[in-house]
Symmetry: C2
Subunit: 286 residues, 2 copies
């Protein structure tokens, strides 16, 4: 595994690999790698000749008051994980080279960037679309792999890749969960032992929604009310949102389902830690 | 010369040319080609193995009330010109493939997009940065050539290419003028014979500014007043702005020059036709 820190150096490497007709896969991460990230690497390995992982805690996607400064970082751990996972190039540029003084350019996806996560984290997806565009231009991948846990992010990346003609295939890999069901996240490290138990409420509420929908429930308000009650009972967490979207368009679904599939998405604060999770359910039409 | 209309087809061609280690130059245009455009093609020819010219009247860079519908178009003329100029690929995609229904993504350069042209044409540079980003992703050039006539556009393109790590060399080629000094522009066709004469006021005012600066004038308010008077006398044109910028930063210069070079930029409406022009002057420091 080769470690690369210079964007220009990484770009030159990518040009050379493409001229050799190698297929490049990119796994963009913010580091503090867990098995969720490693499942993306495994998918990248299956897809391409060359696997590039980026590790960069992107300041522009953190909103004022969020945890940019304290976001967990452990480069030695990440290097070992990446090496063990079969990463070919680990790209981790310094802040000053990613956003040099006088930086001015942003990529933004209208509308869908302002709902759900975008409502609670205004500007977040502008930062995401910008850094991912930059990484795409630097690493020049044929394929890029993202996790389903950040469902809205994955949707927005697919959208701007299509809109801006990046010509990159976006693969969204399934959520990897702890044995008890908690979706893996670098931010889980923030949870105290007690909060860690209460955090299961997100997973349990999604399972409940699935059970209700499978049994033919069509009243999403009812589903949401039951999820809200479960989260209150199990976690006393503060719910930012519980919503249902069309997985193909990320359009919010009103009260009644007219689709073959529905994606439940939610964000809940357990203590000071904000967690998100989601599941896609097949729906039997009434 | 090969004509290409499909973005996906053009992108595939570009990938193949790059895999053959050919160097690609792109000359983006809105068509209705004149000798200014052809000078960009000649520069492209000098720089690269493959010259791609795009012809696309980009709707997103026209502001409400502007001349998108009536902007001059003549594809037969453009094809002949491109062929004669040695263009290898003429890329002219249909609107529906550039901005399909549900299109949502835009590229924007903060600050510099809102002054001068951006003040009088709000959203214009957002449209420019977006279409040029798309063309860069489709054509994958090593070099792209733009005209100095659209000075602020050229600056903004250089800026987002650097900010977003496009890794493309931007060459800005000199303004090509008619024998009497009028900067070539597809919009000159709008001018009546009388307006065509009055339009020379832009060029004359820039020459006047150059004469004053060469003679050691340091009071830019004085220079602007003289330019304003000349334009009033020669053209009765409506001045949108006459400004002086640092050519390296496009920062507006206050009243006194502390630089080695100053760029005078102006926009004037002659009848219903809005014209822009500019010149860069070396400045003897006082």
């Amino acid at each position: 595994m080769e470690k690369v820190t210079s964007p220009a150096g990484m770009q030159k490497l990518a040009d050379e690999l493409r001229a050799q007709r190698k297929r490049i896969a990119l796994v963009p991460t913010m580091g503090f790698l867990h098995d969720g990230h490693m499942s993306l690497v495994a998918e990248a390995r299956r897809q391409c000749d060359i696997v590039v992982m980026s590790v960069y805690v992107n300041p522009t996607q953190f909103v004022a008051g969020e945890d940019f400064a304290t976001y967990p970082r452990d480069m030695a751990h990440d290097e070992k994980k990446a090496l063990d996972g079969g990463v070919d190039f680990l790209f981790s540029p310094p802040d000053g080279e990613v956003y040099p003084e006088g930086y001015l350019t942003f990529v933004e996806v209208d509308k869908v960037s302002r709902i759900l996560e975008g409502e609670f984290r205004p500007g977040h997806f502008k930062g995401v679309a910008t850094i991912v565009s930059k990484l795409f231009n630097i690493v020049k991948p044929h394929v890029a792999i993202f996790g389903q846990k950040d469902a809205q992010q994955a949707f927005i990346i697919r959208k701007f890749v299509k809109d801006l003609n990046f010509g990159i295939e976006i693969i969204v890999a399934p959520i990897i969960r702890e044995p008890d069901g908690l979706a893996m996240s670098s931010r889980n490290v923030y949870l105290s032992p007690d909060e860690r138990k209460r955090a299961l409420a997100l997973y349990h509420s999604l399972k409940l929604a699935g059970d209700m929908l499978r049994k033919g429930e069509v009243d999403l308000t009812h589903v949401r009310d039951r999820m809200t009650a479960l989260i209150a009972a199990e976690s006393e967490g503060r719910i930012d949102y519980i919503q249902f979207v069309d997985p193909n368009t990320f359009d919010l679904i009103g009260n009644s389902i007219g689709l073959n599939a529905v994606q439940a998405v939610l964000a809940v604060r357990i203590g000071k830690t904000r967690l998100i999770d989601n599941m896609i359910f097949d729906v039997r039409k009434p």
